[in-house]
């Protein structure tokens, strides 16, 4: 048993931290806000730093060297991801962490050679194209039609809540190639150039100022070679990918917690630091404990994969627990900040640069996207405990 990083892993963690603090620019952080990006990768300033990280092999560290990876362990990959999240870098990489692994697992050799190196280098970013107005938790209800026209597919339909399409290069698209038979057996995954004629991207602004999109497909042509793996097998690829990619790290939520702790030590009322208030002590200690629980759940996923296994209900458990923990962090943070919690970034008297209220608003989506907590609990019960479907 061992719950600490090895010496080499710790050294790498230090190296990653130093790199990030040196290379993070105010321009990048400003861009995140202006583009409504949050954790999402793809905008110009973000790409600069990510390309540098990717050059060190840190974007897709577990991939084979021939595709741009370091053949490093999953523990290392998870650790790097956590550092990126903590330091406010984009850490949600659809290309490197979702599309890439799927191509690695299910794509043809030509597809791997064509796409993987450019993904690993940070040159390309993808946007997820799953959700539709009538297909959220029930993804198999997706309808975007892909007609087989011989040497290309012709696509028509609508995607909803597709984040990052406005900055990404390609759409990692789940579409319907078969309308007969069971719904989940008629889905295919395709890589679509977002600059293709017929694609219209329309912004949707969320309650946390971050942007997602409606995407309209009108007679969009997709070359046959952009089909990933086999036609009509897409749902299986998607579901398999979820087991591997469901992990969520606390990222900026853990950082805001650390800043909250510092705030309570530095802020005094009536000569006494807030950190001496017994209720505040209990709440912060509780959150600190939960953050430790998240750490153990998170690295357990990496460990399972290291051992050649596939995290099963453990992914669902980690994602749900982490999302709910993040919500508790921001809720407690808002309570401790009290009236100051309402002040937005830039306001006179604002504390913690207004991060708390912004993350508080954003925390709502954590238990919804990537599989709602309700779906995750169903999965834990059915796959983790064998309860009846």
């Amino acid at each position: 048993m061992d719950f600490e990083f090895t010496k080499e892993e710790k050294a790498l963690q230090e190296e990653v931290r130093e790199f990030i603090s040196k290379e993070s620019t105010p321009e990048m952080l400003k861009e995140t806000a202006e583009q409504g990006l949050g954790d999402v990768y793809g905008a110009p300033e973000g790409r600069k730093i990510i390309r540098k990280m990717a050059a060190k092999g840190w974007l897709a560290p577990t991939w084979p060297r021939e595709y741009g990876g370091l053949e490093a362990s999953e523990i290392v990959a998870y650790m790097i991801n956590e550092e990126m999240g903590y330091h406010g870098l984009p850490f949600s990489f659809v290309a490197a962490h979702m599309a890439g692994p799927a191509i690695l697992r299910f794509g043809s050799d030509e597809m791997k050679k064509k796409w993987l190196p450019r993904i690993a280098s940070g040159e390309l970013e993808f946007a997820l194209g799953y959700t539709e107005p009538q297909a959220g938790s029930d993804l198999s209800a997706l309808n975007l039609r892909a007609e087989d026209k011989g040497d290309y597919f012709l696509l028509n339909g609508t995607k909803l809540f597709n984040t990052a399409c406005h900055v990404a290069d390609y759409h990692w698209l789940a579409c319907r190639t078969n309308f007969d038979g069971p719904r989940h057996k008629g889905v295919s995954i395709m890589i679509v150039d977002l600059k293709s004629p017929g694609i219209t991207i329309s912004p949707l602004i969320t309650m946390s100022d971050w942007r997602t999109n409606e995407v309209f497909y009108e007679d969009v042509r997709v070359p046959k070679e952009n089909l990933v793996g086999e036609k009509n097998k897409g749902f299986y690829y998607l579901m398999t990918a979820l087991d591997f990619e469901r992990m969520l790290n606390l990222g900026r939520y853990r950082r805001v917690f650390d800043e909250l702790v510092a705030y309570t030590k530095e802020t005094a009322v009536g000569g006494e630091p807030l950190s001496k208030n017994p209720l505040i002590r209990q709440k912060l200690a509780q959150l600190s404990t939960e953050i430790e629980v998240v750490r153990l759940l998170y690295y357990q996923l990496a460990y399972i994969m290291e051992k050649g296994g596939i995290p099963n209900y453990q992914s669902s458990m980690e994602k749900t627990f982490t999302a709910e923990c993040a919500q508790r962090i921001t809720n407690v943070g808002m309570d401790i900040l009290g009236l100051y919690g309402q002040l937005k970034e830039g306001s006179k008297w604002v504390q913690l640069k207004g991060k708390m209220e912004k993350l508080y608003r954003n925390s709502i989506v954590l238990t919804i996207y990537g599989g709602t907590s309700e779906i995750q609990r169903n999965i834990i019960a059915m796959r983790g405990l064998g309860l009846p479907v």
Partner: protein, 377 residues
Amino acid sequence: MDYNFSEEQELLKNAAKGFLLKECKPLFVREMENDPQGITPELWQKMAELGWMGVVFPEECGGIGGSYLDLIVLLIEMGYSCLPGPFFSTVVLGGATIMEAGNEEKKRELLAAIAEGKVFVTLALTEATAELSPERIAVKAQKDADDFAINGTKLFVPDAHLANYIICVARTEEGKNKEDGITLFLVDAKSQGVRITSLNTFAGDKLHEVVFNNVRVPKENVLGKLDKGWPIIEKVLQKAAIAKCAEMVGGGQRALELVIEQVTEREQFGKKVGGFQAVQHHCANILTCLETSRLMTHQAAWRISEGLPCEREVAMTKAWVSDSCRSLVALAHQAIGGTGFMEEHDLQLYFRRTKAAGVYFGDADFHREALADVMGL
């Protein structure tokens, strides 16, 4: 990182599980709750023969020289089977204190006897305030020529009725700082002036009031250094807290199994109760409580085993597991329904034990406050 037990630990776990499934069935547990001794000599001897008492004692003291983590493997299985009796008091409290504080001769003598199953030891720590901090130690030990005379009352002393030795945590000097002036005394339970009264408890533990009325203890029976006993107790409390967590994790595992048995069997409204989402979500929450408790316990136990700094992890773990395992068993009752409310159903054994365990060696609030200190708040 490595989340798994070693192969030997897995073997130990399976052997312990098998043994306890046979020798410590729920009927036996219930019998022992009503039995004044709380253990049978037969079971105790069998455990001694398996080497369980001496798992962490050095070989030259009659033990196996195993690690604290090995002991935790056993304790999880003990929690699973609700093992009654003085293992915890004798080994985790008494044995640990003697190992930390005893001189070589005392260790060899006593630990060997404990390992053979011949001697019971317990720790008399808390007093009427029921608090764990050193400033609450008021039982006095007055120096008198070559001996000490102990006066005062200790409460909630586990298995004092069986103990050959009671380690009494007493104040020998009004210290300038609260941690000084406390000394550990190995008291022969048959000493004149020791009066033991059993307390009627809720979870099957045999707890006692122990009154010390001018109890004379020779100076050779001081464990560790005069006035410097508290740091030993702190270490013992850390180990005891995590050991209790191990019991709670084992108990939680069994509670989960009882739930699954029920919800996959019982049918209502034309289907298995386990097919309803509300019930499934309770089950998912139960599994989350269990797994997170298990991971936290493993980590803290590993750190203690490796001699790593562990104040932070011990506080976090005892707080987390106390709360989570309590929630777990409460949810289990909800998922099982009316049947689980019956005395005859085994879940109530776990319901009571988990709550008691949650309070021992510092409840969740206590440990959160300790953690707040570690965090520098």
